[in-house]
């Protein structure tokens, strides 16, 4: 970390890059936003926006469970609960004929309600509201290290499994005729999403984490013609929105996550304009 701080000191001699917390946050954003750019491409392909939203909301219950068991850091309780929820949704979806969004709606509502009921007991919900908005600037060097690990994990996952995920998203029948186990793919992907969303929720915030996943990919779709462009554009957009959002939030004194999302929305509108103008 010290090395990183020195590097930043030299290449970014700006006022916003001076405080230690900004250096940490910048590194966190450089690690986290590309992950969202990558996973987002598939979330949009699979039309899973609602699903990832549900996973984000389930973090509340994870925190509540952590509180009940008296964990100092609720992260593990959150991850375990999110993974269980993700698997439950995939399984129930395959077992019943009900529409996917209905099932997700039921699970999501149950998770949020349960979380709020437990956390609001005795009127103490206010101290958890930081999870709703998130705080990028509070990230510690140890957490940046965790993010770096997650980043490598996702990259390896994305290299190993991408082609199969893509085929399943295009046509499950086609994928199956090529020997791909669809249910396994679905569960693996949803579990990875659950972990990523949960790990990053304390910095990005429950309310807006899903937009960070969906908007850059949706914007990339407007201008990309193949999978490679889709990835490059999506990752570039998340990086651009991430960095401008961080700087903007520093000068305006606003919540970083929400500022990033606003920049992402702005880029989305630009791509939409490009598409109508030139597409």
């Amino acid at each position: 970390m010290t090395f990183w701080h020195v590097v930043i000191q030299h290449i970014l001699p700006f006022e916003w890059a001076q405080p230690m917390f900004m250096k940490n946050a910048l590194l966190a954003i450089l690690l986290l936003t590309p992950i969202f750019g990558l996973l987002g491409t598939m979330v949009v392909n699979w039309r899973m926006a609602f699903f990832s939203d549900a996973i984000g909301h389930s973090a509340l219950t994870g925190i509540a469970i952590g509180v009940i068991f008296g964990f100092a850091d609720p992260l593990w309780a959150m991850i375990i609960f999110a993974v269980v929820l993700a698997i439950a949704i995939s399984l129930v979806r395959n077992l019943t004929n009900a529409a996917t969004d209905t099932i997700i709606g039921v699970f999501s509502a149950a998770a949020v309600a349960l979380g709020i009921v437990i956390l609001s007991q005795g009127g103490g919900f206010a101290k958890y509201s930081r999870f709703l908005i998130g705080d990028f600037l509070s990230i510690s060097p140890r957490e940046v290290g965790l993010l770096a690990l997650v980043f490598c994990g996702v990259l390896i996952f994305w290299i190993v499994i991408y082609n199969r995920l893509l085929l399943v998203s295009i046509s499950p029948s086609l994928a199956r005729s090529r020997g791909i186990n669809i249910q396994k793919m679905e569960i693996v992907f949803t579990v990875v999403m659950a972990v990523i969303v949960t790990v990053s929720i304390q910095w990005v915030g429950i309310l807006i984490i899903n937009s960070l996943l969906v908007i850059p990919a949706a914007a990339a779709r407007n201008i990309a013609n193949d999978v490679r462009q889709y990835h490059i554009v999506s990752v570039l957009i998340t990086l651009l929105a991430g960095i401008t959002g961080l700087i903007g939030s520093y000068y305006w004194g606003t919540a970083t996550g929400a500022t990033i999302v606003l920049f992402a929305v702005f880029i989305y509108l630009l791509t939409l304009f490009c598409r109508f103008r030139f597409g």
């Binding site: 082609n163 086609l174 199956r176 090529r178 990835h231």
Partner: protein
């Protein structure tokens, strides 16, 4: 490096390797959809699967693809006895379920199906060349860099057929294209499929609705309604009294009136 299977097996079908479907039964939600389906399919043959809606045509295809739970076996026997076991099945889906806005090119589709190199990272030149050759067989090589979502119904059909032939399967399963293809397009499609089974060493099973075209292009017809009710040459099946009665809709009349079939020979009935 994988051997070029196509080079080895391209050419006229030997007509000797076969796939046997033995006692296929499917029960979904306590409703019996298929019962004891037995079929014997030779390479070089175009088998048309006909029957009423809900008769189990698509279910049979899905069961063969292991997409739904079923009882019974599917076995492949090579002409020289070199290989037996599960056949390599190619599948041409009727439609893709992704939205047309997805930035996936035809090249991506081929690369994702054939290689483990993530398509967002790189494409193997050898595979791209192979895909181009495969598409060329269907006069579709110009589509390689197009977005899959931008293709017309006919173009998509050709791309999916080329894709299903990589690697060359023992058995090709396909649905007749539904909406969006006019009669001329249909005729073209049947000619293409008939061509396929002549030029490649494989068997084709086609779920069909257009009996007129089936009569002209299929080598064999299977009339499926819960089980195999009747199978044989087109002329034989269309002469069969039970089949005619079972589906006396306008389409059938047209197919029968327009054609003089020879007297039937060995129609198998079950």
């Amino acid at each position: 490096m994988m051997p070029d299977v196509r080079g080895l097996r391209q050419g006229k079908a030997c007509g000797l390797c076969c796939t046997r479907i033995e006692n296929f039964s499917v029960t979904l939600n306590h409703v019996e959809i298929l019962r004891n389906v037995n079929l014997h399919i030779h390479c070089g043959e175009l088998t048309a699967l006909i029957g009423p809606n809900g008769g189990g045509k698509t279910t049979l295809l899905r069961a063969m693809l292991d997409e739904i739970p079923h009882r019974g076996n599917i076995r492949f026997l090579d002409a020289k006895g070199h290989r037996s076991g599960k056949p390599l099945i190619g599948y041409v889906p009727q439609r893709l379920n992704f939205d047309s806005g997805a930035p996936v090119s035809v090249r991506d589709l081929f690369a994702a199906s054939r290689s483990r190199i993530p398509v967002w990272f790189a494409h193997s030149h050898r595979l791209v060349q192979q895909a181009r050759d495969g598409l060329a067989h269907f006069q579709a090589e110009k589509l390689l860099n197009r977005r899959v979502g931008d293709l017309s119904g006919g173009e998509l059909q050709r791309v999916l057929m080329a894709l299903a032939l990589e690697p060359l399967p023992d058995l090709l399963l396909m649905d007749e294209p539904v909406a969006g293809v006019d009669h001329k397009g249909m005729e073209l499609f049947y000619r293409l499929v008939a061509d396929l089974r002549q030029h490649y060493d494989l068997a084709v099973i086609l779920v069909s609705h257009d009996l007129d075209l089936v009569a002209r292009y299929a080598d064999r017809v299977v009339y499926l309604n819960k089980t195999v009710q009747c199978t044989g040459k087109p002329a034989e099946v269309f002469e069969n009294r039970n089949v005619v009665q079972a589906l006396s809709v306008g389409q059938w009349d047209a197919a029968l009136v327009n054609r003089q079939f020879p007297q039937n020979g060995g129609v198998t009935q079950q």
